[in-house]
Subunit: 96 residues, 4 copies
């Protein structure tokens, strides 16, 4: 199991993911300004929840790419077990 | 209920929150590089889960500040209801 | 801070909560049968997610009752701090 | 994609899952008694969070079984796509 290389993301998937991540980066910067300007806490918290939801979406799309790519190939070559275990471990991180 | 002003964060709380948010911003940029460099999906996902956990912490510390400040004052002046409803609504966003 | 007694739930709130909990109990029993009958995993998982959502709803409605009752009274009598800390701790359990 | 039949759980896995589900069922009944006896809300909420964590564990162990079984076989026979999509959809339910 090679851990450092990965499937290339298809160009359009990669671009979509990067766009989302740049937007999330901007939202995190926006929250910093809200905190500095003593904006209403509930508005800050609503923004944080929006970022969490956006990160979930990015996470799910990377998870899907990974399952269609690495996981599928590992299973096809009869070496699915470690990759499935690893997949379960990372899903656990998102669930708890 | 005034929605745009807020309690000032105490200076040290504000600084701690801002430090965490700057770190989170850096982590989000880090993930962009990981995606561009086709790093292993599981490593990217692990980083995303770390950011989620960091955002939860920031969220909880703002929630606490808000409850000790706005919510407490509203209750003391006999006007707790709308503030409590609003608090529940934002907690709901974090739970689901 | 008295930890063992609590505000009575208003009768209709209590009945609603109990109805939901009985339904959840039935759903948990239903999942046992699905497992025994080797039902399709995805269908079992979908049911488990439905129970989680139902428990979130019950949790939120108890949290609301608690904040309107115990928390509000503690704040009004100038003893809000330990009750707020405790509230934050339990919210943390639901968020992570 | 056959949706109603499933891999049999290995006997010991099935028994472990059923034991957990029976324990969860008992916990849900326990919460009903706590509500009826007007027990302290925070204690009820702590119990609800414990049930959620227990359901997450059961869910993850069924997810693992499913991925090692159905998903693996579908991929090996060149028909992984619908099963992977379905897997992602159910993971989504647990994450949000």
């Amino acid at each position: 199991m090679e851990k450092l290389s990965s499937d290339r993301f298809p160009n359009d998937t990669e671009e979509k993911i990067l766009q989302r991540l740049r937007k999330i980066e901007g939202q995190v910067r926006g929250i910093q300004k809200m905190v500095e300007n003593d904006r209403y806490c509930i508005d800050i918290l609503t923004q944080i929840a929006a970022i969490q939801a956006a990160l979930d979406k990015v996470g799910l799309s990377i998870l899907k790419h990974h399952t269609y790519g690495c996981v599928t190939r590992a299973i096809q070559s009869g070496e699915g077990d470690p990759v499935i275990d690893e997949l379960m471990d990372v899903i656990k991180l998102f669930i708890k």
